[in-house]
């Protein structure tokens, strides 16, 4: 129970700080932002990996493996595509955008 409160607190604090930071992201970076957040949510792969730390039957293993594939797709693909997109912005922005 205690742990649940800590987690709820973590959620609320991160959510609040997230709002505070994200309203500052300019519209031109909204697509990379969403792509980045998808990569971040790929960390669900962590939850999927933890399933393998306990025993499970074949079906549970299979479902957990699908979750790992999905999470890894988001994590790796998300960061890669975000980086590619930000590269488009870099070319001429070097001198001007800050």
């Amino acid at each position: 129970m205690n742990e649940a409160f800590v987690l709820a607190g973590v959620f609320l604090v991160t959510f609040a700080v997230g709002i505070f930071l994200i309203v500052r992201v300019p519209p031109r970076l909204h697509t990379p932002l969403m792509s980045l957040t998808n990569a971040i949510s790929g960390i669900t792969v962590l939850g999927a990996l933890l399933l393998f730390a306990a025993e499970g039957n074949a079906l549970q293993r299979g479902l957990a493996a699908i979750a790992v594939v999905m999470g890894a797709f988001n994590l790796v693909g998300g960061f890669a595509v975000t980086s590619r997109m930000l590269g488009f912005f870099k070319k001429k922005a070097t001198a001007s955008d800050d």
Binding site: M1, G18, V81
Partner: protein
Amino acid sequence: MGDPGYLIGNLVVLAVILVGIGMFSRPNAARFGNLAIALALICALGVEVARNPLNAPLLVLAALAVGSLGGLAAAKKVNMTQIPALVGFQNGAGGLASCLVSLVQLTREPQTLDRVGVVAAVAAMIVGAVTFSGSMVASGKLAGLLRQKPVALPGHRWILLVVSIVLLAAAFGATSVSDSGPTWPAIAVVLFALLLGLVFSARVGGADMPVLISLLNAFSGLSAGICGVVVKSQVLTACGATVAASGLILTYAMCRAMNRNVWAIVWPAAPAAVPESAPDGGQDLPSETVPSDQAVETPAPPSDPFPQAAEVLQAAGKIIVIPGYGMALAHAQIGTVGLANRLVKMGKDVKFAVHPLAGRMPGHMHVLLAEADVDPDMLFDLNEVNSEFAATDVALIVGACDVVNPAAASVEGTPISGMPILAAQDAARVIVCNLDARPGYSGVENLLYRQEKTLLLLGDAQETMSRLLNAIS
């Protein structure tokens, strides 16, 4: 859990994520932020795996490899027109992962979750499954695999309501069975949540996609956050919260750009005002032009307007280009940027005015133009540029319709009434390079087309751009 080193490690990961997101306020720093967050999360994963020895390591490795390589391939191959479909798919993948993790945890025997864990697992399953099926529909529509027209079933709201009630009942069943693994209610929860996402998403049409995709982004974050409670991971909970916050802000930004509340989009009172004039094609491609096979239907303009348009452009000093999604449909980004660059070389002041809805997801038009190598200094958002139209010689519209329709301000009771528009009508001359003069996605006739100062260059935008370029050179 009580290990202080582990707690500090978690805090560091959290800090890096938040600082990294903070860096997204500036384009140059954003690349570094992206990299920093990626490294932090990979470290967090490594630590977790080192602390919890995994069974079936080969299966885990294989699954990791498949997912990672698939992600890399998709990231490498995708072009910026397709990016909303990929992002939509990723929203769904995240939702599915959270849903499956929670399902496996819940149906484990003997039950290892406490009461909070069981409720959280059912909640994560619902949100995750709704996100997954909703995102697959959205992604299918965005990728052109499904028709973009909103699908309204008879009694759509009632169906949504009934599915929701059955879902809640199943959820109640799944949370109240405590000793044996509550397998059947849990599966019912997943199935009805999938159905709910499907029905809900089918109702949303092409031009409302920016709202839907942002909302699903928030949902995928929420499901990950709740999933973090299920597996008792602070990092996962915090990541989910960040994503939910971002999705929520983008949803709000998109709704504000449309002057609609989110409820009106996911729970529309009546079938959206989609005109019936073109039974196939046309209206299901929103706010802008339609692909070239529709061009035959367009009545030929009275005389060739190209020479006149070229004259107007040559004489102009200040030009604002207004790109819309129709430009992307016609693959005319490069041509448009080329024309703009040419006009700059001729000594003219050229700006791009980007409406928040000029695309299929938040910020989409910016990445479309950035891919076409536009000078980022030429891009301006609605608020930055709207007051400048009055002092502008030419507003050059490429594949945009609803976002420049003065009816939004002057006519009451239309689907776009009250929506902030780009004030192209204030410019001295307006050149419209759309495929046809039909209304955009909203179905509201564009009053701009009838004005005397407007020149209509109808037809495929890619061709129009190259003809204009030739004409002014």
